[in-house]
Amino acid sequence: MSIKVRYFASLKEKVGRSEDELPFVDITTVIDVWKQANCDAKLPDNILAAVNMEYVELDSTVTDGDEVAFFPPVTGG
C-alpha cells in the first residue's frame, strides 16, 4: 500500500506537481508525509492539511492507504 499526496492551488504551482505516491515507510504523521515527499523542505506558512478529505493538524497520525492533502487557506464563496 502507499500514501497518496495531493497539492492544490498556489501550493500546487509552488511544488510543481499536483500529486505524489509515497510508499508507507517511516511515516507516522502528516508532517512526515510532507517532508518525505518534498526532500525535507519546510512546509510553507499557513498551509492547511487534510487526511481522507477531513481537516487535520500536522501532527495527526497517518495510516497506510490514506490520502493526504496540502493546500493554502480556502477562498471560495
Binding site: 492544490f8 492551488a9 498556489s10 493546500f71 493554502p72 487557506p73 480556502v74 477562498t75 471560495g76 464563496g77
Partner: protein, 148 residues
C-alpha cells in the same frame, strides 16, 4: 439537502424555483426562505479584475459542504437547504455561490443561511485565481471575516 458543484454559469433564481417546485417535503411547511447569492465583482483590492478561475478539491468539497449544512440543521430548525457553487472560469456578474434555506420561521432561515455562508468561506476547499485587467494572474490570499 442538495449540493451542486457546477462548471458552467448558472441561474440562481431558476435553481431556487426548480428546487422548491420539486421538494414535496416542503409543501405547506415553509414560511421563510433566506437566499444568499455571491456574484463576481470586476474589482478587488484596488485592481480591475476581468476574470477568475475557481479550483476545488473534488470529493472534499462535497464532504465539507455536507458537514456544514448538517451542522446548521442541528443548530436551527430548518426544512431544507440548497447550495450551488461554481468552479472553472468565472467572469464579472457571474453568480459564484447560492445558499438557500427554507424554514418555518424567518429567524432560523436568516441565521442558518448566514452560518452556512460564513463557514463555507473558511472551510470549503475552493481557491480563486484572479486575472487582472493587466493580464497579471494572482491567487486570492484569504477570505475576509464576514462578521467584521
Amino acid at each position: 439537502m442538495k449540493i451542486k458543484i457546477v462548471t458552467e454559469s448558472f441561474d440562481p433564481w431558476q435553481e431556487i424555483q426548480q428546487f422548491q417546485q420539486s421538494a414535496e417535503n416542503m409543501r405547506g411547511k415553509f414560511g421563510a426562505t433566506s437566499i444568499f447569492i455571491g456574484t463576481m465583482r470586476d474589482f478587488n483590492e484596488g485592481d480591475d479584475v476581468k476574470g477568475m478561475t475557481l479550483e476545488h478539491y473534488p470529493g472534499m468539497t462535497e464532504k465539507q459542504l455536507d458537514k456544514i449544512i448538517s451542522e446548521s440543521m442541528q443548530k436551527w430548525s430548518v426544512i431544507d437547504v440548497l447550495v450551488v457553487h461554481r468552479v472553472g472560469d468565472v467572469f464579472p456578474d457571474d453568480p459564484i455561490v447560492l445558499v438557500a434555506v427554507w424554514s418555518s420561521h424567518r429567524g432560523d432561515a436568516f441565521d442558518s443561511s448566514r452560518y452556512i455562508m460564513e463557514v463555507l468561506k473558511s472551510k470549503a476547499p475552493f481557491w480563486k485565481k484572479e486575472i487582472l485587467s493587466t493580464d497579471i494572474k494572482r491567487w486570492v490570499d484569504k477570505n475576509t471575516d464576514g462578521y467584521l
